[in-house]
Subunit: 229 residues, 2 copies
Amino acid sequence: MDHIKAIAFDLYGTLFDVHSVVARCDEQFPGRGREISTIWRQKQLEYTWLRSLMNRYVTFEQATEDALRFTCRHLRLDLDSEACKTLCEAYLRLQPFPEVPETLRELRRRGLKLAMLSNGSPHSIGAVVGNAGLRGEFDYLLSVDPVRVYKPDDRAYLLAEKAFGVGRSSILFVSSNAWDATGARYFGFPTCWINRSGSVFEEMGQTPDWQRGGLDEMLSLFDSGAAGR
Amino acid sequence: MDHIKAIAFDLYGTLFDVHSVVARCDEQFPGRGREISTIWRQKQLEYTWLRSLMNRYVTFEQATEDALRFTCRHLRLDLDSEACKTLCEAYLRLQPFPEVPETLRELRRRGLKLAMLSNGSPHSIGAVVGNAGLRGEFDYLLSVDPVRVYKPDDRAYLLAEKAFGVGRSSILFVSSNAWDATGARYFGFPTCWINRSGSVFEEMGQTPDWQRGGLDEMLSLFDSGAAGR
């Protein structure tokens, strides 16, 4: 892995647990937290893809709020403006997965440059990373907002190549989202899929270069003498 | 509604019932038909959106087969090549919703030009419409295949405007898929959302001009003296 100089991480679902909003949802709608969180996340993704295709970008915060409104209408739950605000703000206080902080520090000790490359807005990324006390671990926090299109559009992945200033084949891309790992691999990043839940990968003509059950398991890729792929 | 000269219909889910494949799925995997059909359809849509965003078009038949393979792996069901072929072919023999044939004939009697505008390939559209005996009701069967991108990209909707040769404001677009109705409305088509199941509309900044519970209920829009929107 000597050829890898830098790592770009996805945020939502990869370093931070999107379902950590379940507890907030449960407070507003007792017993419905898991159901709300699942549909909300699915719709949030759909809205980023569909708005990209329609060339009708809105910020990730707006897509997140829109997805929550859809979810509550779909489930016939009454969402007042205060509950909406409370739940959307929960997306700014996502919890990192337990192994994430120490793994990031270890990767930095090994001399790798690190970036976040996220669909989130600069404000969202800064808040989530800052609230978790991880701002110092990243060389770059990259949002798709300047290009106004969401992953898996190539223009989003290009942001990481430009920021690091090295060729894409020297940048490892890490995501738990199989569609994101697929897009990154088509773009040309060597790609590691973090599969914490024993899921199956998407069927879109790509497979990840590596698959790991947690971020810490990725460290072995950088052990001296580790074989290539 | 005198300004409407032509109507473009979505195929999958709008004129034809995608869940009419449930029986075929049940034959292959007893008791699992509904579950397979639901995930299969969701993934089929996701793959059309994601491949469009990644600029990695494959035909609708290929996306459909890929989605079925994902679905069966996800559900830990063993899909052999014969079952895969049988189930994918079921997508060529979808049933029209009961009110569809007579409604199409009535719209033609009223002098409207009709087109199908579908994500399906020319082969798929021709097979589905032909197997249902409805080929004669359409002036145009339009596939996104020539532009190699799926709805809701503008280039897909443009195919209908070009085929009819009239301005988009004179073309009524009809879909049961709320994301499709959203895209059509952003494009500039007056849009009718067919909502047979009491669903809620998407939250992407548009609402349909009309909402009807079935295709037959759309006819009243063309009664003489019917008010505008």
